[in-house]
């Protein structure tokens, strides 16, 4: 019993692990909540695009000595606004336009990154570096999480309505384009914090996998958000401790745990169907 206790507690005695734990739980929970909309509104591709387009923002911030988090945030928000604008104005299909722009932005980020003399300093943007968060990062992450969750709470009924019936929302006088852009900006905020944990490449997993898992366990939106938040948080805590003990990548371990929970949920759903209970 003591061995299990030690296994969990010993890593958390270190200050950097405490910061990492706090930050990763906050980020994973926020990703789980907004991720429910990402799954239900089929925005996974946009989430991935927002994560990738943060890269040039980070590199430009690094080259100019600015705050990297701020650089990623600026790039993410600009991309979110750009996607919102394209959805209204472009004649191209939205996913095509996003595909063109995000790969170009990511390529630009890599070119800028390879031009610097310190490729290794920036590589954590690609793969995440939750163990490197300091007090300022924790404060920024907490602030972003509070802003995202408060706005999602205040606009819940409008986001919910526009998610399944855009026409009705428009008939009532809601500008659904602006509402969607607001959601994308919140998504950009969330994605930028997610990059700290798992990096640009795996961030969409934090958004999609816990929410997809929750969607298999419940059929109520609010419950789905709560389940997804806790699945994400559980994966973050376990992933952090496992990666400490086995000296492997923290971000990738968290993502694999999320996927493991998803596999368990699929199994539970199959068993329910087999027993003829259906989902409740």
């Amino acid at each position: 019993m003591n061995a299990i206790y030690d296994w969990f507690v010993v890593p958390i005695q270190y200050g950097f692990m405490q910061s990492a734990l706090f930050a990763s739980v906050i980020i994973a929970m926020t990703c789980g909540v907004i991720g429910s909309y990402v799954v239900l509104r089929r925005l996974a591709f946009i989430g991935d695009a927002l994560a990738h387009t943060a890269l040039p923002g980070v590199v430009v911030a690094y080259l100019n000595g600015w705050n990297l988090f701020g650089g990623a945030l600026a790039a993410g928000v600009m991309t979110a606004l750009g996607i919102g604008w394209m959805a209204r104005k472009s004649t191209l299909r939205e996913d095509t336009a996003i595909g063109v722009i995000f790969t170009a932005m990511f390529a630009l980020g890599i070119v800028l990154m390879s031009g610097t003399q310190s490729f290794r300093d920036l590589s954590h943007i690609l793969f995440g570096n939750i163990l490197g968060v300091d007090r300022t990062d924790v404060l920024l992450i907490s602030t972003v999480a509070v802003v995202v969750l408060v706005v999602l709470f205040l606009l819940h009924k409008e986001f919910e309505l526009a998610s399944f019936d855009t026409l009705q929302a428009e008939v009532m006088g809601i500008h659904t384009d602006y509402l969607r852009t607001t959601l994308l900006v919140l998504l950009a905020f969330t994605v930028v914090t997610g990059i700290q944990v798992v990096g640009v490449i795996l961030t969409s997993a934090l958004l999609v996998t816990p929410a997809a898992t929750a969607s298999l366990l419940t059929r109520d939106l609010r419950s789905m958000m709560i389940y997804a938040a806790f699945i994400g948080a559980g994966s973050a805590v376990l992933g952090l401790i496992l990666s400490y003990h086995y000296a492997v990548s923290t971000g990738a371990t968290i993502v694999l745990l999320c996927t493991g929970f998803f596999a368990i949920a699929v199994g539970v759903q199959r068993i329910r169907q087999y027993r003829g209970e259906g989902r409740s």
Binding site: L154, K157, L161, S163, Q168, V171, M172, G173, R219
Partner: protein, 250 residues
């Protein structure tokens, strides 16, 4: 005022104005395509039941969408109770065709119907006891109380149509625009919808129903508007419609 979705103060209707007054309305979806509506002019009095009939693609849905402000128009004028469409969000309820909604979204029937109240609730505010009571009363009237906690994805076609009607009813609008509510529903639901439309008329509401069902026009409606090729080909009392060219419809 700023908590209203439209951001405008609600304005009263113009006294004695007709429910709908359309003059020389032109609508074009795309510069390369022809007009979806070309020179529609019609006046619909208040407290009337109007059947809007016509072939597929004739312009029925486009006309209804224009009346609720979903479809911009290139020229002409549209007045609802004497006011501009944009000033009438709270005054017009729209029942879309079932295919316009994502029925797989996880929302209960009760909450789905409640969304009809949002236009009166607005930003940042939550439904009050009066809103919830009205929803329960409407679910009861539509025989949906037993499925109120189920998800909308679990409903039959007729139940979905009743849920849509319920959402339009709780909006307590003076004008209801129903786009093909009789499509693919069971006979009981059809009778129920017809009774409710009659009840709404008795309450002084105006109801426009786009429909392909010509079997009971004279019994169930006060007026018939025939739309053909993007224009109103006839607007007549329902009892007189029997002598009109039926081939324009369907």
């Amino acid at each position: 005022m700023f908590l209203n979705y439209s951001g405008r103060t609600h304005v009263d209707s113009v006294p004695d104005a007709p429910a709908i007054e359309i003059h020389n309305l032109h609508v074009r979806y795309d510069a390369k395509q022809g007009e979806a509506l070309s020179g529609v002019s019609v006046t619909i009095p208040a407290s009337a039941r109007v059947a809007l009939i016509g072939q597929n693609g004739a312009g029925k849905s486009t006309l209804l969408k224009t009346l609720v402000g979903l479809q911009p128009y290139s020229s002409g004028s549209v007045l609802i109770f004497g006011r501009n469409v944009r000033a009438c969000h709270h005054r017009v309820a729209y029942l879309p065709q079932r295919g316009e909604i994502d029925w797989r979204f996880p929302i209960s029937v009760r909450r789905f119907v409640l969304t009809g109240r949002y236009v009166h609730i607005g930003w940042l505010r939550q439904p009050k006891a009066h809103d919830l009571a009205l929803v329960e009363q409407t679910l009861e009237r539509l025989n949906l109380s037993s499925v109120a906690d189920r998800l909308i994805s679990d409903l039959s076609g007729g139940q979905q149509q009743r849920a849509l009607l319920g959402r339009a009813i709780v909006q307590e609008s003076e004008l209801l625009l129903l786009d093909e509510p009789f499509n693919n529903i069971d006979p009981e639901t059809r009778v129920l919808i017809t009774h409710i439309v009659a009840e709404l008329k008795a309450l002084g509401r105006t109801i426009v129903v786009a429909t392909h069902d010509l079997s009971r026009l004279r019994e169930e409606f006060d007026y018939v508007a025939v739309i053909h090729d993007g224009t109103i080909a006839a607007f007549t009392d329902a009892p007189s419609y029997a002598v009109a060219p039926a081939e324009l419809a369907l």
